[in-house]
């Protein structure tokens, strides 16, 4: 593979509270041999895809991101599941719906046609790099770690618009963790919602839903939960102490971004992976497994 430069959209969260997600991803990319080139111009994606079909104004923010990406190449990668979801769906609307395309372009004063190919970082690893090659680059295999790959919902659904993998029985995430040497566990709530934006106004629902995700993972034997989305990460970590409090049988486990797990396996200096920014502590597990 010749040196690959992929235009990259970090999104707001990765620029602020999920900085470790961003830095670990960039670092891992450079070890594997590609570069994530941040867009020179970007704004917030809007953080939700508007569900009312006539809400075109809600599509202008992501459309601006897309049109500025178009100026830097024909692909765009991103990490946050929400950004990925919003950008990919907006792009499809612009590509397939001429009427809306015209309206949106009128608002943003651009001529964007929906031709950028939006790839999640996981897709870059799977389709552009190849998991075999990732496996070959592993220096510090996550041997013996039973990991729960928590997809959440935004990464997979709706299937017709996203299509990264089979929406109801995906394997892309497990395949990556397997390449890193970990043992993915099958657990019930791996593609269920964490409670998402309800974190703002209905904590009870979030604790309940995130709690189910974590208990089903731990029941299935997970020693580590890996996420692909800052909102999932936030909700799980925030809920975990409460879940442990109300369920005495529950043992808390560390929750990390998949890029942190990736960096770890690729042999990155543990200090640089930003684990201290997570609220759960992965170090005891790493020590126990003889990894750190």
């Amino acid at each position: 593979m010749e040196h690959m430069k992929i235009p990259y959209y970090p999104g707001c969260t990765l620029n602020t509270v999920a900085k470790q997600f961003d830095t670990s991803a960039r670092e891992a990319a450079s070890i594997i041999g590609f570069e994530m080139k941040e867009l020179s111009q970007w704004n917030c994606c809007g953080a939700t895809f508007p569900l009312t079909p006539d809400n075109v104004i809600g599509l202008t923010a992501p459309a601006k991101v897309l049109s500025s990406a178009r100026k830097e190449g024909d692909t765009l990668t991103t990490l946050c599941s929400v950004c990925y979801n919003v950008l990919k769906r907006t792009n499809k609307v612009i590509r397939d719906n001429k009427e809306k395309r015209n309206v949106i372009n009128g608002f943003i004063e651009e001529e964007y046609d929906g031709s950028v190919n939006i790839l999640h970082y996981l897709e870059v690893l799977r389709d552009k790099v190849g998991f075999d090659k990732v496996k070959g680059a592993v220096k510090r295999p996550l041997k013996g770690i039973k990991a729960a790959t928590y997809y959440g919902c935004m990464l997979l659904r709706p299937f017709e618009d996203i299509g990264i993998d089979k929406a109801e029985s995906p394997t892309i995430f497990e395949d990556l963790l397997r390449a890193l040497g970990a043992e993915p566990v099958e657990f019930a709530n791996k593609i269920e919602c964490c409670g998402a934006h309800l974190a703002m106004n209905n904590e009870e629902v979030v604790t309940n839903l995130s709690g189910k995700v974590m208990t089903s993972a731990v029941d299935a034997g997970a020693e580590l939960i890996v996420t692909t989305c800052p909102l999932c990460q936030f909700n799980l970590e925030k809920s975990q102490p409460r879940v442990a409090e109300s369920d005495t049988g529950y043992t808390p486990v560390p929750v990390v971004y998949f890029t942190q797990a990736l960096g770890l396996a690729l042999g990155q200096d543990i200090e640089t992976l930003g684990f201290e920014k997570n609220s759960s502590d992965i170090m005891p597990l790493l020590k126990k497994k003889g990894i750190a």
């Binding site: 089979k166 929406a167 109801e168 029985s169 099958e186 657990f187 019930a188």
Partner: protein
């Protein structure tokens, strides 16, 4: 000068209310060539027809027009009446002044309707002047039939045709006839054992002298037309000589290799030399060549060593045989949609999530568990079973939009079988609506719910997952408005009934139509339910869409009766409305060959006396041509004409307007 008669029908008030029929008749009488006119209350009545016959004879008419209803209604009636008076029936033409005139005009002064009727009739008169007397086409009929597919529908059709005294070839692609019904345990609504009612029919089909069984065979090519089909059948090599095999089963016993059994849907193994199930007909094993070490690597050969009559031949090859038949019944059945498509239900991931058909095998006394309900993972008897209905059916997004029709019934049956076999076990059914239309069907389902303790929950399942050795089923109970979670030991999916893989290829070989789901199309959904657009090819059973055994059997018999009716005469008369090629002007571009939807046009070589080909022309096969006229429109050199609708006739009518 022609001698034409014009008969204008009042059709009670249907025509007369808005058309002055008397005036129409009078006006027509003024036209050159018209020597007789009249109007009458009901031309189609017996006195009306008699009047028509009299008028033809008395006035020596050589052509007649009946201005009445659509030719679809009474063209046949009047042509027959004309024939009775000695006229060529194709010298009788109909003007439609009812459906296309009186019924669409409301003007009670009759002005518009009358003028239009006059115009229409005048056009027909000019057209009639260009008519040529035509003769019905006589086609010899080969009184032997072929039935493709040996499920219950095909077996029934074959038996009925044989019973009617005609020969039948029954072509089945598997080593045994029986189809899906052979897999079933008990059958709704009467709960008789499927094998017990099917096996006698299978044996009857084998023993009937009029039936020839071609098992392990497939249709490769179909030529010809109604009464005269030539079918090429590939008889796949069984590696066992059918004539000499005694069915002793020694070879199966001794074969050291096992693979998954397709018949048991992976719930059990079978040998590499095998019969699909114990009651197979014919009771002759076949060797599964890709898995046989003798055939692949020349190692083993145990079966041949123990075979008493020495009928195993590892060098046996496929044979192509050609059969001449007069009619074909297609009864190739259905399959179930692959369950793997529904990740949320865990099929393929969770061992004890099985399909409805697999449940039939577990409940069947000849199945892998001898009829005990034991789950595949550990052989334990499940104490609670969840049945999920509409897996893929009525699901436009991930499955098919239609209802598979049989699943409500067989799921109710499954809960009954389960409660009979596992006392104290609890069954749950997630359903969308219960569709149990049919004689004693609703009572059957009510029985399962009210007397046999099945718990019916109206709602969909969102997820199935494993937890502590149990299968957790999460779903909605929309009647109580709650989310429910059920701990089950086994889950059974009622997967959609879909057409067979390759159904489209076979349809193309036969020249019959199919819908977007690749189910075969009947000619008319109500009035011609077992016919196809291709004359001489009939349909029966689930190759047309989901249906149960009673319906499949009824259709098998219906198709057979169509075949027997066709075979009741030595020759078949057909309407002579077919196209003809002008061989002098045809320039062999073959656009007509491409355009013809019935493959009725052939390439004919014109030879000189020495037998050298001088040129090629198109030739229409009268037996196949349906008179649609597509070739006429496609022909660039204007070399094709449709008899009864020649360009000359049509232009004459237009000019008269």
């Amino acid at each position: 000068m022609p001698r034409i008669g014009v008969f204008v029908c009042q059709c009670g008030n249907n025509i007369a209310a808005t058309v002055d029929t008397k005036k129409v008749a009078e006006e027509m009488g003024k036209l050159p060539g018209v020597v007789y006119t009249c109007d009458y209350k009901f031309m189609c009545s017996s006195p009306g027809q008699e009047m028509l016959r009299q008028a033809i004879k008395e006035n020596k008419l050589d052509g007649i027009i009946v201005s009445a209803c659509s030719p679809h209604m009474h063209e046949k009636t009047f042509r027959k009446a004309a024939e009775g008076a000695g006229l060529n029936p194709y010298q009788c033409e109909i003007t439609n002044i009812r459906e296309q005139c009186s019924w669409v005009h409301h003007d009670k002064t009759k002005a518009a309707g009358t003028v239009k009727s006059i115009d229409l009739t005048r056009m027909t008169i000019q057209r009639l002047k260009k008519n040529q007397p035509l003769k019905k086409i006589k086609i010899p009929v080969k009184k032997k039939a072929m039935v493709i597919g040996g499920g219950i529908a095909g077996i029934q059709a074959a038996l009925d045709i044989a019973e009617g005294g005609r020969e039948v070839i029954l072509v089945e692609k598997e080593p045994s006839i029986g189809g899906n019904m052979a897999r079933l345990s008990e059958t709704f609504p009467t709960m008789d054992c499927s094998q017990c009612i099917l096996t006698p029919k299978m044996v009857e089909a084998e023993l009937n002298e009029n039936i020839t069984l071609y098992t392990y065979s497939e249709v490769e090519k179909v030529d010809g037309y109604i009464g005269n089909f030539t079918v090429t059948v590939r008889r796949k090599s069984k590696y066992v000589d059918e004539e000499r095999c005694t069915g002793c089963g020694e070879c199966i016993e001794k074969c050291p290799f096992k693979v998954d059994s397709q018949f048991e849907l992976g719930l059990n193994k079978r040998k590499v030399i095998y019969t699909p199930f114990p009651q197979s007909v014919p009771n002759v094993p076949v060797i599964d060549a890709p898995n046989c070490t003798k055939i692949q690597k020349d190692k083993c050969g145990a079966c041949a060593i123990v075979c008493g009559p020495k009928c195993i031949d590892f060098k046996m090859e496929d044979k192509l045989v050609t059969e001449e038949v007069g009619a074909i019944v297609v009864a190739t059945g259905y399959q179930n949609m692959p369950n793997e498509r529904f990740g949320e239900y865990g099929y393929g991931r969770i061992k004890d999530v099985i399909s409805g058909m697999q449940f039939e095998r577990l409940a069947s006394s000849s199945g892998p568990t001898g009829g005990e309900i034991r789950r595949p993972s550990d052989g334990k008897i499940p104490q609670s079973v969840v049945f999920i209905q509409c897996v893929g059916s009525r699901d436009e997004k991930k499955g098919v939009s239609y209802c598979s029709k049989i699943c409500c019934m067989y799921t109710a049956k499954h809960t009954k079988l389960y409660s009979h076999k596992v006392h104290g076990g609890q069954s749950y059914v997630f359903y969308m609506d219960i569709r149990s239309g049919g004689k004693r069907y609703e009572e059957f389902v009510r029985g399962a719910i009210e007397h046999e303790g099945a718990m019916y929950l109206r709602g969909r399942v969102s997820r199935v997952y494993e937890k502590n050795g149990k299968i957790m089923v999460q779903g909605a109970d929309t009647l109580s408005g709650n989310q429910v979670e059920i701990e089950a030991d086994m889950v059974v999916l009622a997967t959609a009934v879909v057409s067979r893989d390759g159904a489209d290829t076979l349809a193309q070989r036969l020249g019959i139509g199919y819908d977007k789901y690749k189910f075969y199309n009947e000619y008319h959904p109500k009035l011609k339910p077992v016919e196809t657009v291709t004359a001489g090819i009939y349909l029966a059973g689930t190759c047309m869409g989901p249906m149960d055994i009673p319906e499949s059997v009824a259709q098998g018999s219906a198709a057979a009766s169509k075949v027997l009716a066709l075979f009741s005469a030595d020759e078949m008369a057909r309407e002579p409305i077919t196209s003809v090629v002008n061989r002098t002007t045809c320039n062999a571009c073959w656009d007509c060959v491409t355009a013809c939807p019935y493959t009725a046009i052939e390439r004919e070589a014109i030879k000189d006396r020495q037998g050298n080909v001088v040129r090629w022309v198109a030739k229409v096969n009268d037996g196949v041509c349906q008179g649609c006229g597509v070739c006429v429109a496609a022909c660039r050199s204007k070399s094709i004409d449709l008899k009864g609708y020649t360009d000359e006739q049509v232009f004459a009518a237009i000019n008269a307007f």
